[in-house]
């Protein structure tokens, strides 16, 4: 069941025994999983990178350079965003990749990001948008339907793009849309913020884990699934060393936020795929009977999603599993009376758009 990338990420020394065909497969799996720069760091740490042939290492180095560029750009952009939010007396709270990079956390090493995610309290969302607009972050081309949809049913506003720098900013007011089963009290998230540098905050370590798991298990597409699971693994290896009662607090926090189910899956698959050390009894404490009963089905689906898109390592029924997960994500995201008209409309738009626009219609499924 294991695959090459997984084996080498966990045991970098194995890289030295690979032939050229396997090395090609390894890099290809890492690149398509958005883990190439992370792999470079793991190999570097283990002292393996310097033994690789130049023709192989140049690909790792290229990914590291892209990562470093993103980190530089993020440092600049986050200062500008901080200033914009300062003007309305709001703090900058970074989420996901941007937080991992700027806080210099282990999962930030080699982490590639596509946009900057931040969260502000819901009642400040309009003020924040205005302040960001003034400093050059503008809504792009969002059609009226999507715009209405985002604002009424979403947990974020339509993405803002910086006019001059072309970077994308996602402004959230919650970690899940209000239409989803568990109603997360977003106010709780602002209680235990961590200041990583002057005026820049992240969620608490526990909330960061829960958010990462929640995001992962409400996704409809798993192009970054393995990478997100890697994030989770790195956090769970690092955070318990930072706080003495990490695991107990994690369990009780998931209860407060009513996100036990996502955390249950998150811990489960991090452990199954990356062998994350989790103390005995923790997963049982988070799970309940219904989660345990559903586990074999979930395993069937998710263990197919957390693999590289390499035909040589695909398990049987992968497309079927991915399709069911796609349907599941929509089902989780909205009640049927919203879902059916929404999907009907999407299907209609897709039908109307010819080849050129089809990805646009698909891209909008992100909401």
């Amino acid at each position: 069941m294991s695959f090459l990338l997984q084996r080498v990420m966990l045991n970098p020394q194995q890289c030295l025994d690979l032939d050229n065909i396997q090395l090609n497969q390894l890099l290809s799996q890492a690149r398509s999983s958005k883990l190439l720069a992370s792999l470079a760091f793991e190999l570097e740490n283990a002292g393996v990178r310097s033994h690789l042939d130049q023709s192989v290492d140049r690909h790792l180095q290229s990914a590291v350079l892209i990562h470093e560029k993103q980190k530089r750009d993020l440092a600049y952009d986050s200062e500008k965003i901080k200033l914009a939010l300062d003007s309305i007396g709001e703090k900058l709270v970074l989420l996901k990749g941007a937080a991992y990079l700027l806080a210099e956390l282990p999962m930030g090493k080699g982490r590639l990001i596509t946009d900057i995610d931040i969260i502000v309290p819901q009642h400040r969302i309009d003020d924040s948008e205005n302040a960001l607009n003034k400093s050059g972050w503008k809504s792009g081309n969002v059609n009226a339907y999507d715009n209405r949809y985002y604002r009424k049913w979403g947990h974020e506003i339509p993405p803002l793009t910086n006019e001059r720098r072309d970077t994308t900013l996602d402004v959230h007011h919650n970690i899940l849309p209000p239409t989803v089963g568990p109603k997360v009290d977003a106010g709780l998230l602002f209680q235990n913020l961590i200041e990583i540098k002057s005026g820049v905050f992240t969620l608490s370590w526990q909330d960061m884990v829960i958010h990462s798991a929640t995001h992962l298990f409400h996704e409809g597409e798993f192009h970054h699934g393995l990478r997100d699971l890697w994030d989770l693994d790195r956090m769970l290896r690092d955070f318990p060393r930072r706080i003495p009662r990490f695991w107990e607090e994690l369990v009780s926090r998931a209860g407060e936020l009513e996100l036990q189910s996502s955390l249950f899956h998150g811990l489960n698959y991090a452990q199954q795929v990356f062998g994350t050390p989790i103390p005995d009894g923790i997963i049982d404490k988070i799970g309940n009977r219904s989660m345990s009963l559903r586990k074999p089905i979930m395993d069937f689906l998710f263990l197919r999603a957390f693999r590289p898109e390499d035909p040589r390592c695909k398990l049987p029924y992968t497309s079927f599993a991915l399709y069911l997960l796609y349907v599941r994500s929509h089902y989780l995201r909205m009640p049927l009376y919203l879902l059916i008209p929404h999907l009907a409309r999407k299907a209609w738009i897709r039908q109307l758009s010819t080849g050129k626009n089809s990805s646009e219609a698909r891209g909008n499924d992100a909401i």
Binding site: D19, N20, I21, L23, N24, S28, Q29, R31, S32, D53, S55, V56, R58, H59, Q61, S62, L65, I66, E68, K69, R72, H223, E309, D310, P311, G355, K356, S358, S359
Partner: protein, 305 residues
Amino acid sequence: MQLLSYLSTEELRERLARGELSMRVGPYVYKIQSNLPFIAEGIATLYADFKLAEPAEFVDYNIAMRQSGILQRLRGEARFLFDERSPFDTIPSGQAYAFLEWGMNWCVSLHSNEYLKLHAAAVASGDAAIIMPGVPGAGKSTLCAALGLSGWRILSDEHAMIPLKTTEIVPLCRPVSLKNESIDVIKSFSSNAIFGPVSEETHKGVVMHMKADLQPDSHDTKTLSVRAMVFPRYARGEPQQLSPRRRTDSFILAAYHSFNYSLLCENGFEAMKTLVQNVDCYDLVYYDLDLAVHTVNELPGLKIS
């Protein structure tokens, strides 16, 4: 090492279908998979003199141009894949050849950063190379093709790859992409030009690729020394002329035409500085190809033998 032309049409088609066609392109190895017949035809024509890579060699770029599923067949669409993932939309299969070539460019543009990469055509005579950066439409590919048909060795019509802090260039010879009227211009410039499949109605119009490895040393991988940077601009109704260009302006323009100048950060700055300080820079305004080729032939210190 075998050349691609060693394979029979049938063998080439089978290898492509199985995804087992690996070939050397400059410093890289591409592995290509395709089930479209005119992809095989295009490759047979334009890559005949490229070296095949050994099966046990490391592959830099795994790519495919594939038509899969009934729906794609019915609609006549195909998809470019990189590492089994498609970075772009599906395209009409009639444009697949042009998109395969662009996809091959894209691999280098996005995923290779060991060199300072300029968006430029490059040609050489002996050990001396000229770089010709230009925005799309500036006529760099047309001029590059014409120079190639006049005895110059084509190094690339897309990427000038400069090892950091040197004034050298790494050859990356691949077919030259010609668009719209420049296809006829080149056909009337020389009857020796060899063309691949035509792709119509792409976002760039009609596109054809020209075989670029016309010299015996076209596939040498040795770096060459850059002697001049020429910024070509195709302009009808303006006086044709070659004029020296200030180094400071050339630096800024070349940085603008670079794929990874800002990604390389200080190293990018140092690399560009080394290059611009040591090569002569010119503007070339032209509309007559014969005159343009003659002008490049006569560049000071660079006479073609």
